[in-house]
């Protein structure tokens, strides 16, 4: 299995910079992205070596980084006023919440404990069995995806499971490239549903009806693209 040291170093460096430089560093979307990705990778590794502790903590940290990252992605696109101003407001809220997460005793404990928890090599057979379970779960989660009534959350669930499967394959140095396209499409769909969700929760929802209608119109083609990419990936996963 690939050593965890470089991913741990990336997580630690990202968190240290965010803590030391505070809000200014949290304006760097790449740094937030780094914390999100490295915590997700480490969570998969902890799972692969068969440990239970720290999984919830890594998920909690990833989730906090992801909430900010989703808004970073959304804000980067051009938006009309006052929608753009609202998104900046929401991003500032998520940034504060993320910095509070990093300053907590839980995050400090996680960074202290992660090295020992993820440095264990685990047994190769055990890791392969767990990857097999991740593979089965990914296939199972997508069973009803072709149903036009499938909820957006079903696509999100598949995205989550494919992410774990991809990271798990990468930890054992196996080919995961065929998952990249579907992940990109599911990521684009997630950005779209994030925009809709933010619009719905905003006090401006009523005055932005046209924007919302446009987003809703674009949802079906995006789901279709994600579904097409999934079908290609599914064939590859089933053959494995």
């Amino acid at each position: 299995m690939q050593p965890a040291s470089s991913v741990i170093a990336r997580l630690r460096e990202g968190v240290a910079r965010l803590r030391d430089e505070g809000s200014s560093a949290a304006h760097d979307p790449e740094l937030v992205h780094r914390v999100r990705v490295s915590s997700a990778r480490l969570r998969t590794r902890v799972e692969l070596v068969g440990a239970r502790m720290l999984r919830d903590d890594l998920r909690w940290l990833r989730k906090s980084a992801a909430a900010l990252r989703d808004l970073d992605v959304l804000v980067e696109r051009a938006h009309p006023e006052p929608w753009a101003r609202w998104l900046e407001h929401r991003r500032a809220e998520e940034r504060s919440a993320f910095l509070a997460t990093l300053a907590s005793a839980r995050a400090k404990g996680l960074l202290t404990a992660i090295e020992d928890a993820s440095s264990a090599d685990g047994d190769e057979d055990g890791a392969r069995e767990r990857i097999e379970r991740l593979r089965e779960r990914a296939l199972r989660s997508a069973r009803h995806l072709e149903d036009p009534k499938a909820a957006d959350s079903a696509f999100h669930d598949l995205r989550r499971r494919l992410r774990r499967l991809r990271y798990a394959l990468e930890w054992i140095d196996a080919d995961a490239k065929p998952l990249e396209d579907v992940q990109a499409e599911l990521g684009a769909l997630n950005d779209h549903t994030t925009a809709l969700r933010e619009l719905e929760r905003s006090p401006l929802a009523a005055s932005l009806a046209a924007k919302r209608a446009a987003l809703e119109r674009d949802l079906a083609p995006r789901r279709a693209r994600a579904l097409k990419a999934w079908k290609a990936a599914k064939a590859w996963i089933e053959e494995r």
Partner: protein, 174 residues
């Protein structure tokens, strides 16, 4: 709420090349604590939430308790230092965030802080935290104390004290 205070199992001695935080459980410690967990399992114990210290011996002890964990786990540096309001706030926040509220919470940590926590929660008595005070209760490695009541200093009572050996015997009968 029931608060189960669990002291980590037997760990290796401090030696050159490792820090105190890196001390792992010994083979014997793991074996004994696994039996202890089976004993807790036989008693029907299930934890809704488990908080643990980040020191390796506590992480490994918590990990071996996975078979009786039904909810989430969380690591916190507040369990690797004397008990504080921050620790109680952390546990209360975890309970408030849960639906229904947490009924049985485990904390895996170290002595003398677990005893300090028990004294504080039962008697609201922080003067007993002095290192010169005689031990009111000292949890052995792999031992468990159970408090019940409101998670407020002075409002909990000690309802059980499980010796590590007793739990192991229970676990061995399977």
């Amino acid at each position: 709420m029931q608060l189960w205070l669990v002291r980590h199992a037997e760990a290796e001695e401090l030696r050159v090349g490792i820090t105190d935080a890196q001390r792992a459980l010994t083979k014997k410690g793991k074996k004994r604590w696994k039996k202890g967990v089976r004993g807790l399992d036989d008693l029907g114990v299930r934890f809704d939430f488990l908080a643990h210290s980040p020191l390796r011996r506590a992480v490994e002890t918590a990990d071996l308790a996975t078979p009786i964990l039904r909810g989430e786990s969380a690591v916190t540096t507040d369990l690797a230092r004397p008990p504080s309001d921050a620790l109680l706030d952390f546990l209360r926040d975890a309970s408030d965030a849960s639906t229904p509220p947490l009924e049985r919470v485990a904390v895996v940590g170290h002595e003398p802080w677990l005893t300090d926590l028990a004294v504080w929660l039962v008697f609201d008595w922080r003067s007993a935290l002095s290192p010169t005070s005689p031990p009111w209760l000292e949890l052995e490695k792999g031992g468990v104390a159970v408090l019940e009541g409101e998670l407020v200093p002075g409002r909990m009572r000690l309802v059980a004290l499980h010796r590590a050996r007793t739990l192991r015997r229970l676990g061995r009968t399977r």
